[in-house]
Amino acid sequence: MTRRQRRMMAVGALVVGAGTAVALALVAFQSNLIYFYSPSEVLAGELPPQARIRLGGIVEEGSVQRSGSDTTVTFRLADCEQAIPVRYSGILPDLFREGQGIVAIGTYDVQSGFSAEEVLAKHDENYMPPELEESLKDKAGTSCMPVANT
């Protein structure tokens, strides 16, 4: 092999390698994008089937129920218009409370509601994820969020 051929081989290997890497990365990237939805959007049937999503809303007052036998908890997550039942098993974050804005990650099913794998509540009482704040405005653009009690 001449030096030139060897160099071409090296360049070719580099291109193939980099191409594979980029392709793999993009596949991983595509399959791990998690979109944010509000309860109304979910109930309007905007979800692709089986999609893993982030669902954001306010925990409805009086809706939190702990199971009597295991670690399951159910509650309703609401935006300005609608609410969705959510099921989760395990410890809820410290800032999880009724009337508090939270984000749940999981999947939605028409029969059983939303089953959450993860529940996120932010660590600052005054802090609201921007996407959640956005989705908690009604059509007139005014916020329907309960005022934080300070």
């Binding site: 890497a21 793999l24 893993r52 982030r54 410890i91 410290d94 660590h123 802090y127």
Partner: protein, 651 residues
Amino acid sequence: MIPELGHFALCLAAGLALMQCVAPISGVVLRRERWQAMAWPLAVGQVVFTIIAYGALTWSFIHVDFSVRYVATNAHSELPMFYRISAVWGGHEGSLLLWVLMLGAWTLLVAGLNRSLPRDIGASVLGVMGAVSCAFLLFTLLTSNPFERLIPAPPEGQDLNPLLQDPGLIIHPPMLYMGYVGFSVAFAFAVAALISGRLDAAWARWTRPWTTLAWSFLTVGILLGSWWAYNELGWGGWWFWDPVENASFMPWLIGTALIHSLAVTEKRGMFKAWTVLLAISAFALSLLGTFLVRSGVLVSVHAFATDPSRGVFVLMIFGFFVGGALLLFALRAARFQVRQQLTLFSREGLLLLNNVFLSVAALAVLLGTLYPLFVDAMGLGKLSVGPPYFDAVFAPLTMPLVLLVGFASAVMWKRGDWSRLRRQSLIPIAVAIVVAVLMALFGVRGLGVSAAILLAVWCMAGALAEPLRITLRRSRVKMGRAQWGMTLAHIGLGVFVLGVALVNHGSIERDVRLVPGATTEFAGYAFKFVGVARDEGPNYDADVGTVEVSRDGKAVATLNPEKRYYRMGGNPMTEAAIDISPLRDIYVSLGEPVQGGAWILRLYVKPLIRWIWSGALLMALGGALAATDRRYRLQSRAARTVTAEAESVHA
């Protein structure tokens, strides 16, 4: 009175910083020696006034002066002294001031230790650092003045965020900032090289210790953040691919690449333009990290709830420095081109691969962090990128890196020697295979985990091989601190990878519901839940649980996880209880009470998790050791005598 003095000192510091930038740089461009020489006194003056301002804010905190708005929102009269001092950087305004103070510390170090530099280079470096100081001082003064008064003063403050009342978090931000800000030194050196058009081995030798030191601080900062999240957030994880974590990790990756490419620039005079580009990128990513955290555009644990004007200001700073430096780079980089043959099978060839992998890894993290922001800005929807993406991309990128590390000392500069490589890597390979097989026999099995063990042990054994050989042969060659530092850091990487592999492979977690007196069996341990009692802390009340852990009837530990309720803030805080040992952690955190007097508890058993932080600590120590190598000090002493002689000749 004191806060006004602080405010005034801050204004003076900003003015001096502006002069510290303008005088020396115009001096370099116009070749005025006197203007260049002004860099040193101006830098010292700027830092002194910054220190005064910082001291004034600390004074206001110690005396809990609630007529200062920032103190009123971040302190409480019952706050212990320890936390009063650290509360200075507990919020946005004060942490910016800390940023500027750290920059001042670096400026003083550079001004004091780099007198041996040719005057124009030294002056440009201080000038660029002055520009950075000036930008951030203006940012503080114009958008986030910590000395703003609150009249009438409230009778009581709102207290420091309970999450920040933890020793780990007291030192996390200063360390992280030392790292972020430290990259401004490398950036300043890069810009100085671009201005002067000179970039040689001496330049690389001056830049190396600073970069390595900044990198070490950043490593410690990230490690503390991870350790704190593990202790404090109650989720039992050590890394979440949270956007703000990524924001600190990207400059770390690029900084690591920079350290290695600087070695090539020094030893072989290659990769010059690339090194300069990396130095610019490392600082750019530090600024980007600051922007992401400050602007509130991110959905994150760390996001300060701030107004957008601050984000715009940081973005302007970012545009000015990065845009300016890249423009300069475009105009001047062609000068640094070298025509030299590069063989892949040589140390510089392997370091090139190292740089490729590290840069691609940083780009992958950048993509995952910025894409959601981009999509949002375009109005295309709200989305986030899940941790599985990062895991999937990261493993294939880091595995080859760890493999490369094992070759570090066995492949020579210019051209590697196959027979030498074969001779030297035989034992490390054998050790790696034996360990991986033994671990598999003891039940640690699986393609991924075995491969990771193999690579980690190969990396450690390969790093140890050279010092062992030198010691055993009683060779005349002595290893310098730089080499020991490298050895230590590479062993640290191996320890880290081993920790990550075993934590990912062997962690077991379970959420259980227990009534007092009940026992649950889990991962070979028995957990007996004794009950929960009420306790009182200095500024909080707590529910303290008691869990007795035993194995085969023998007591292992008694753990007391807490749920704290701070009297000022309504939000409870989970304090996990952890039984620590080198080989495994047992982690219990208290959930909430449920019907029938039962509680929900989260139990974890995590093998080797301490190795993750130990490995990172070894890397940082290695970096610090390497930065203090005699070579760098000797050089400055030698240069100083030369300058002194030259001056006496002129006189």
